[in-house]
């Protein structure tokens, strides 16, 4: 498979076509916006946190396929986690996307591990991590996250 085909693997394209937990929910407790100024990715994150647990995680906005797929996968694997469990996943995802770590994957990240191929496209790493940073900002009560 060419690098390009790896980047736009079927899993990713499928999530992009049918994103999970997409759309602004009726109610939420936490919200943040994620902006990737350079390429124009913009992600809205809506969380319902109850008793320190992420009851629901939704996202909206217009983004590239990598960003959409990553957000779709992220919301799936985040739902139901406690905030501290989620933070651990975030750290693992950052490691997964760290250009200096070669091909490490984490069982807990499930399908999101397929995003490891993004590392071959350094300018796209921010597309994959944006939604995670936005959830982190929402949990902290910050209005926006950038991927800087």
């Amino acid at each position: 498979m060419s690098d390009l085909d790896q980047l736009y693997k079927e899993t990713i394209l499928a999530h992009n076509r049918n994103p999970h937990n997409y759309g602004k929910p009726e109610a939420w407790t936490h919200h943040a916006e994620g902006v990737n100024a350079m390429c124009g990715d913009l992600v809205q994150i809506y969380l319902s946190i109850e008793a320190d647990r992420l009851k629901s995680v939704h996202y909206a906005g217009e983004s590239c396929a990598i960003s959409m797929a990553s957000a779709s996968m992220m919301t799936e694997l985040s739902e139901g986690l406690s905030v501290s469990e989620w933070r651990l996943r975030f750290e693992q995802f950052k490691q997964l996307m760290n250009i200096n770590n070669h091909d490490c994957t984490y069982e807990e990240l499930g399908q999101a591990n397929t995003l490891v191929t993004v590392k071959k496209f350094p300018s796209r790493i921010k597309s994959a991590t944006l939604c995670w940073y936005a959830v982190d900002a929402a949990i902290r009560g910050l209005p926006t996250a950038t991927t800087e």
Partner: protein, 400 residues
Amino acid sequence: MLEEQFPGLRTKVHGKPLVYLDNAATAQRPQVVLDAINDYYQNHNANIHRGVHSLSESATELYEQARVSMAQLINAPSEKDLIFVRGCTEGVNLVAQTFVRERVKAGDEILISHLEHHSNIVPWQILCEQTGAVLKVIPMNQEGELVLDDLDQLINNKTCFMSVVHVSNSLGTINPIKELVKAAHDKGVPVLVDGAQAAPHIKVDVQDLNCDFYTVSGHKMYGPTGSGVLYGKTEHLAAMPPYHGGGEMISKVTFDSTTYNAVPAKFEAGTPNIAGGIGLGAAAEFLLSIGLDRIAARDQHLKAYTEAALNQVAGLRIIGNAAKKSPVFSFVIDGIHAHDIGTIIDHHGVAIRTGHHCTMPIFQYFNLAGTCRASLSFYNTEQDVDVLIESLNKAIAMFA
């Protein structure tokens, strides 16, 4: 063949020959520009305006000759009306912080247009915050053209200054600058024109436009990065307070008081980008030698060819269809985000830009986060356009 004079075009990208369609971001430079830079560093490497020694004299001559060439390119009445700047961004900020800041009062209006690049928006927002002035905007329509119907109200007795783009970097729209300047002058309002995208495409004649200021980025007109000029009418430049303080812009310094030098030195504090200025002169000579008429003709040919070709692509929509436009195409494709298109076609050697192109308000108007932008130069070929179309079709197939 003109394109052979551009070494940057011979690059390979992912093993494919580069198809460079990101000229509105920055152009490739012809060998003559690189030669001018190298010649300075190798044979005339000295500071300018400062030494009695021969090296410094010849460096100064080269630098000042570049000012003459740039004056000729934009038909300024005298090369002394040209200030070397880093680029358009510095040009706009300089005018905002000197000429305009001095004359603006709280409640005054600064008029720009909806087509502006961030570099012709943010400096005015900063100035408004500093002074209590108010930013006003000439609206645009679905074609990406300015709507001048209410110009008479927009330019009113509170209007202190107008700053407008000559050619839009995102949509290619060529604005009716002469008309805008006339309307502003009728009400006594001075005008700055952002010529970043005009200089590489159009015969610019600042005397005919009759604008008060005009600014140009060297790197977009085939010159070096970090170079550019700001043209100003003689009487404005003479009356304006200085911008940066430093060497060269003074004629006498004591701790009690300082006398400023004559224009343009007054605005050129410190050691400038000497190699950049000299390279810019070579770029101006290069453009003059080709002839802006020939470039404009080539532009129109490439524009027609590209427009027809893009319109053949399924699901592709061109944003911006001004009657007068330069060969710049913003477009979106159904179901594929611009960023993905950019990545995919880069793998076929095609360099375009994706995103908001530093003109977020334009895309807020169109309710888009961004577009793909293919911006052409005279050195681009029909074959370049064919490769673009092929690669777009591959992206579409991938997402189908």
